[in-house]
């Protein structure tokens, strides 16, 4: 134990009610090294770094900084001990200058007034150290995202940070900005700053890091020396879990002769050139990393966001839904990722939720047929087994799985042919997940088509008939059932293939 570790996390465990976010993670950061931290979506990377910043208090485990032991961090302690974090979202005030942002919350004072000159001089010094050109007086809102990030880094440097943790720093940047960011990171390493670099982009990790730590499902997997590691190896370590029988069996019911939805070169909402078909009775899986453009695509098909170009065909006829209302009337449904915000009307009863898309259809001269309304609700409550005392109960009192069923019930009532699931089982416990999968199987058995967005590799492979992978807002691959393989999907999702094709 003679090695010089600046930051050590030992057996960190974090439990939330009902969920264990981190089971047992250990991390050791050497002085002056860049440690790449990788893992799938939801592996626990963000929670782990929040434990370092004091934003999250671990349930158990120890944090050592320069050998000094802490049971827990507070934001203040972290700052005092030289730990700085660059989050994906910047903590800046757009209407203030670069210098003022650097000294946000701890301005240099002259008596009771703020000493703007001194702050600007200090900021200029920090920028110079990093060899970046920013006018300290420039308002942050006039700076590009890359420069805004530089200000955050400069702030850390100005505060003499010894440990810099960067969470997906390249995600919002353009290629040129990424290059300048790399230059700054290299510079900091030479100055002896230790860096934890989190990224989905493996090529960045390979280029920058000295060692790579992999975590999976809240557990420590391994740490590799970068020159000795390979892409395949890392992907296997990130995904590498055994597939158990978590999915109800489904005989193939794909009707190749019946194309329900076809996209031809659809661009819009940030996505580019989307072309694919979904057949009747088919579950088409849509894989990719967060931000790859999957939800955005769903919004375009559902009419929630406009399409820029290309054609969408439903049952062979071109459609152009301008609002969810039009899409629903055409037979398209969407179960959004954020159930509580976009899916269910929490303060409204189960009965009203289920009938919401079809009130016009069950009304005469705008007066609701109460019998049909109640009958509909009872029918779907039985059919999809929504567990509730009465259909008049408010949806907010139901469990996540039952809320999802209510939303599905609503689209069954609307007799939707194409049902888009965006992360169908997020935040739903294991038992209820199985039920949702069974319902998806029933949907395709009835000849409906399902487009399923999922970040869970198992779910994607276990449920899909075919998988399309997106990366960086483009399609990077299509896999038939016999080609399903977690490593391949992960490679496609990391856009490494994309880069090869381009070059």
């Amino acid at each position: 134990m003679s090695e010089d570790f600046v930051l050590e996390l030992e057996h960190i465990r974090k439990e939330y009610p009902g969920v264990v976010a981190l089971k047992d993670v250990t991390l050791q950061l050497r002085r002056g090294e860049i440690l790449g931290l990788i893992g799938e979506n939801g592996a626990g990377k963000s929670t782990l770094i929040k434990c370092c910043s004091g934003a999250v208090i671990p349930t158990s485990g120890k944090i050592k900084i320069n050998g000094k032991e802490f049971d827990r961090m507070t934001p203040q302690l972290a700052a005092e001990n030289g730990i700085a974090i660059i989050y994906q979202e910047f903590n800046n005030v757009k209407e203030l200058s670069a210098a003022e942002n650097m000294f946000l919350g701890r301005p240099i004072r002259k008596g009771i007034t703020i000493d703007r000159k001194a702050m600007e001089a200090e900021a200029a010094k920090a920028f110079e150290q990093l060899r970046i050109k920013i006018n300290p007086r420039e308002l942050v809102k006039n700076l590009s995202v890359g420069y805004q990030q530089m200000i955050e880094i400069a702030k850390a440097v100005q505060q003499n940070a010894q440990v810099l943790i960067m969470d997906e720093p390249s995600a919002p940047l353009t290629n040129n900005e990424v290059e300048s960011m790399f230059a700054v990171v290299e510079l900091l390493r030479k100055k002896g700053v230790s860096i934890i670099y989190i990224s989905h982009r493996l090529e960045e990790i390979f280029r920058l890091s000295d060692r790579i730590e992999v975590i999976r499902d809240g557990e420590y997997v391994d740490t590799l020396i970068t020159p000795e590691a390979t892409v395949d190896q890392l992907i296997r370590m990130m995904v590498g879990r055994e597939m158990t029988q978590k999915f109800p069996p489904r005989p193939c019911c794909v009707d190749e002769s019946k194309v329900v939805l076809e996209l031809r070169d659809v661009c819009g909402n940030g996505d580019k050139n989307m072309s694919f078909k979904i057949h009747a009775g088919e579950v088409l899986g849509l894989g990719g990393l967060v931000g790859a453009g999957r939800t955005e695509l769903a919004q375009v098909i559902f009419g929630a966001k406009p399409k820029d170009s290309g054609q969408i065909l439903l049952n062979g006829k071109e459609i152009n839904p301008k609002s969810p209302r039009e899409a629903i009337d055409l037979g398209i449904a969407m179960l959004p990722e954020d159930r509580k915000r976009h899916g269910a009307l929490l303060g409204v009863s189960i009965k009203n939720n289920i009938n919401m898309p079809i009130y016009k259809r069950i009304s005469k001269a705008s007066v609701i047929d109460l019998g049909t309304e109640k009958g509909n609700a009872e029918k779907f409550r039985k059919e999809i087994q929504i567990k509730c005392p009465t259909i008049n109960q408010q949806v907010k009192n139901l469990s996540g799985g039952n809320q999802q069923k209510v939303i599905l019930g609503k689209w069954l009532a609307a007799d939707s042919q194409l049902i888009i699931f965006d992360e169908p089982t997020r935040g739903i416990d294991v038992g209820a997940k199985y039920e949702i999968y069974k319902l998806i199987n029933d949907l395709v058995a009835q000849g409906r088509a399902v487009l399923m967005i999922s970040s869970e590799m198992e779910e994607l492979i276990g449920m899909s008939d075919r998988i399309i992978v997106l990366a960086e807002r483009q399609m990077t691959g299509e896999l038939q059932k016999d080609q399903f393989d977690a490593d391949t999907i992960m490679t496609l999702a990391s856009a490494i293939v994309d880069q090869k094709e381009v070059s």
């Binding site: 929630a304 609002s323 269910a344 009307l345 705008s366 109460l370």
Partner: protein
Amino acid sequence: MENRFNAKSFIKTNAIWLVFIVEVIFFAIFSKGTFVSGSNMVNIMRQVSYYGIASVGMTFVILIAGIDLSIGSIITLVNMICAFMMVNMNWNMWIAILVSLIVAVLIGLLNGFMVATIGMPALIATFASQTVFEGLAFLITNGRPISGFTKTNPAINFFARWTLGPIPWCAILMAACFAVGSFILNRSYFGRYFYAIGGNEEAAELSGILVNKMKYLIYALSGFFAGLAGIVLLSRSGSAQTTVGKGLEFDVITCVVLGGVSVNGGIGRISGVIAGVLIIGSLTNGMILLNVSEYTQMVVKGLVLAAAVGLDCMSNKRKTN
């Protein structure tokens, strides 16, 4: 246990009516019976009818977590243009009323345009139209009141002066408006949409509700009911004044919020609003009977509004915690 629980929930759901009963008893005792006399009851009915009518539209607006500050000005403007058409232009009364109501609806649609299409906050959008139409109402006659139409058009007395038995027609009109409001909320699909939008606008849109279209409808309805209230007020006062509606929106908002319609949207019933209207109506009337000065009345009403909203927000906080 079962019984106690029921008693508790009964009190909880009907607390507003208990407040009303206590209030009536209080004023009955301190006015030495005058408050509960038949003639005063009829008086109260006349007094509450116009803001009772306007409160139906306001209920819809607040249900979708909006606000309509323009209704006081709509009431004033309707008074002025209706009287102007009858007196200065010699129009038939019914046509004048119809045109006035159309104007009121158009102002509501303008509010809807600002809130839904442009995306202005309802508070500012309707405050702007309040200012504009208050000014316009003044400009019609440069501030002079218009009177004399009661002689040429005695039928105008129908609204606030004529009675059916002992009951003034305006009270019957108010009851009809409450019935229509309750019907819209409970039996028509619009009502379901209103609650959905108030609960969660984004989820409502994604459930197939054309939220913007509904906002137009709701502000138009608010304009319509305010216009109708304006006609009743014109009938009651017998002359059109340029300040008649000033500040009325606050009385109406107080009634609605006191009646349990949540300012955060999505929660509320017409039955509660009726109680709210009766409470504010009797409070005003009772304080006048007890010779409470106008300014003291303002203090009391302001406190009631703060208490009503405060209770609503407190119960919300408890729920989320």
